[in-house]
């Protein structure tokens, strides 16, 4: 007889490429999301609209009248709810393309999904605590991510930032389709990552499969762009007078399995180029794409020109004696600068490689720890996602680590309301338990960090 404990373990790495049946890198079949006539089997498919809706969808989702479709002929209550019908799940472990734990966890439980973009349920979780000096500490849910509106899934508009920081996109209209083009007319047409868009008067290769996992276009068919991100001139139909995008999607490659605990192996998305420029489609005034040698831009650089070869203090008396890249490679944890380039990468501080060559990126994308090298080519650059998660995370400002506290770990353990010693102080725990903190760091053991770990800004700046 053999006794076991039921163990939740990560699935073995899968060697196949993920094309995913529904999107296939481009527009899916139309009636997957739309009802053309609000009629099926000669019956109305919907029973009336939600009169509590506001904003762009107030005009009436769910027509009562047979043969009269809903706004945008959508099947879902709104466009994000339509997406989350597939992309939300009540999983107990990270699973495939699920980007939201639903229903959102309660009590001391933490979100389950671990996609690189993060789990949207964090935006529903507000944490409160009291600092050691008596001040209240609050980490509001809406500060944890992009507040897409999805009424069926309890996701509501940001009540504080009413437009995109650095831009004008209205928070009330933010949806999955604000960033991802569900019809995805952009495509990668060659092995060099060249992006082309369908347009009136133009002829481009048709999209044959997903381009998110390293597939390369052939002479006959293109692949989709990374994560169906929207292309230049994208203008969301459901938003009034949107500012059309001016940048194409970034080029990047993800490993086939990317939603997993990083307790033992990190998920390395090989970001190539263009991410920050693309984020600036909505956050234009925040964006500074180049390094700032003259120290005049007064915005942290992020973009194709923000190279990690920028000079930095070598901590030996030379203000410009080394590079950001050299610090990245040397930095292991607070106080420990003995790292080596071949093993210096961390998915908590990713960067772009400065290439759009699909084969190169595909060889670097991994979920098994097979490629851990840090910057070496001289083309690497910092990007928005070096510090922020695209969807949501446990910390304010969508940051990958807690930027509101001096320490991420104290006494060799995560801070948390249930920690012993200083780690229980509200200014460190932010009101989260140690398990929730660990979840926000994708289950890395606290021993990954220093006994008293400072901000991961230091991965590039080594001020600790």
């Amino acid at each position: 007889m053999k006794f076991i404990r039921l163990a939740v373990t990560a699935a073995a790495a899968l060697s196949f490429s993920s094309a995913y049946a529904f999107h296939d890198g481009g527009v899916a079949y139309c009636d997957g999301c739309h009802s053309m006539h609000n009629s099926s089997g000669n019956k109305s498919m919907s029973g009336g609209r939600n009169t509590t809706l506001a904003g762009w969808n107030a005009a009436g989702k769910a027509s009562l009248t047979q043969f009269q479709g809903n706004a945008y002929l959508l099947q879902g209550s709104d466009d994000s709810s339509t997406c989350l019908n597939c992309h939300a799940a009540s999983d107990t472990a990270p699973s495939s393309y699920h980007v939201m734990t639903f229903p959102a966890p309660t009590g001391t439980a933490a979100p389950v999904e671990r996609t690189p973009g993060g789990d949207f349920s964090w935006v529903t979780m507000t944490f409160s605590a009291t600092a050691s000096y008596g001040a209240p500490v609050t980490s509001k849910g809406e500060r944890h991510g992009h507040n897409v509106v999805a009424q069926d899934y309890g996701l509501v508009a940001d009540t504080t930032l009413l437009t995109a920081p650095g831009g004008s996109f209205p928070a009330a209209s933010l949806s999955c389709a604000s960033c991802h083009d569900p019809h995805s007319r952009a495509r990668v047409i060659d092995a060099n990552g060249t992006i082309a868009n369908s347009a009136l008067g133009a002829k481009v290769l048709p999209i044959g499969s997903s381009g998110s996992y390293g597939a390369v276009a052939t002479l006959d068919e293109a692949v989709g762009v990374y994560r169906l991100l929207a292309p230049a001139n994208y203008s969301q139909m459901s938003v009034t007078n949107p500012l059309p995008f001016n940048a194409n999607p970034p080029v990047a490659v993800a490993p086939a399995k990317y939603n997993q605990s990083e307790a033992t192996s990190e998920v390395r998305v090989a970001y190539g180029a263009g991410m920050s420029e693309w984020c600036a489609n909505c956050h234009r005034s925040i964006h500074n794409a180049n390094t700032n040698t003259a120290n005049t831009a007064l915005i942290h650089p992020a973009g194709n020109g923000a190279l990690l070869t920028a000079t930095a203090n070598d901590l030996a008396g030379n203000a410009n004696g080394t590079t950001i890249a050299a610090i990245y490679n040397a930095y292991k944890m607070s106080g420990d600068l003995t790292g080596v380039q071949t093993a210096s990468y961390t998915s908590l501080v990713p960067y772009e490689e400065g290439t759009t060559t699909i084969a190169t990126l595909a060889s670097h994308a991994s979920n098994t720890g097979a490629y851990t090298a840090g910057p070496s080519a001289g083309t690497e650059n910092v990007m928005c996602l070096s510090c922020h998660r695209a969807h949501a995370g446990g910390f304010d400002s969508l940051s990958r680590w807690n930027n509101k506290a001096e320490f991420l770990t104290l006494g060799g353990a995560y801070a948390g309301t249930d920690a012993t010693g200083e780690g229980a102080y509200g200014q460190y725990s932010m009101g989260m338990t140690q398990a929730q903190q660990a979840a926000a760091y994708y289950d890395r053991p606290a021993s990954t960090f220093a006994y008293a770990q400072r901000s991961l800004c230091n991965k590039c700046h080594a001020k600790d």
Partner: protein, 310 residues
Amino acid sequence: MTSAIAAAPAGAGAAELRAAYLFNLSDVNGAIPMSWAGLAYDRSAGELYVTDRGAGEVRVFRQSGIEVQSFGDDEALGTVTDVAIREDGELFVLALKNGRAVLERCSYRGEPLAPLALRGVPAAFAKGFAPEAIRYSGGKLYLADKAHLKVLVADTDGGVQATYDLQAKVAAEAKNRDDARMTGFAVDPSGNLLFTAGPMFRAFVVSPAGEVRGFGTRGSTPGKFNVVAGIAADERGYLYVTDLLRAVVMVFDPSLEFVGEFGYRGEAPENLIAPIDVSVGKGQVFVAQGAMRGVSVFRVEIAGPDAAGG
């Protein structure tokens, strides 16, 4: 009672589906708002166990739809994932504790009695088996690892009686292997395993001998699968399958022929939004929805050449 919209296939000799909305599961304050609850029906007592993941507790309802008790909100059991009910009322609670799935025997009140350890687990299931669902049928417990399409069958003392590794057979039908995972899972009174695979637009019936039958085709017309989720069987072998995107419950006869469907998206009481789970018993169909619409209860009657009615 409000009649629900029901569509059915045309044709002589076809069974006829009649569905009527009855009420939503409630307490003394009225209908209880919940999203994406998990459902388990106790045929012996005529009670429905609802895992309210949003509130972190298990609520128990009589056939009349009124809540009679709840448990699990103190996290003593961990985060409850699912619950199965034996004829005598003893509960088997599947929960997450410190990131691990644990199985606990509990009294009918949800009071922990003892952990249940599995015995005689074959090597292929001894490592990496991560159950997310539990069902009870015919004196056996069925534990499903949805992500890996594995089902382990045990007696109520934990002795393993059978295992099913369905990955290879189901993935053979999938356009992509990642699509081959269970969305909904159930066991019918005959011990057949029932599950849906939403991304595959398919549902499956697996006999106790391991024979796999798939059914369903992609589409958005009556009887077609868009994003299927919950699945359940009634006492006569009729299957009920929910579709998240089409917002319907589809009914299939024991030979897997489509009988009819009801629900449809909307805000009216008889409509559905994102129906994730379904359970059936004594002529009533319980449907767990999103958008805090709780659990709607329908009376369903099936009349036809080989159906005696609800």
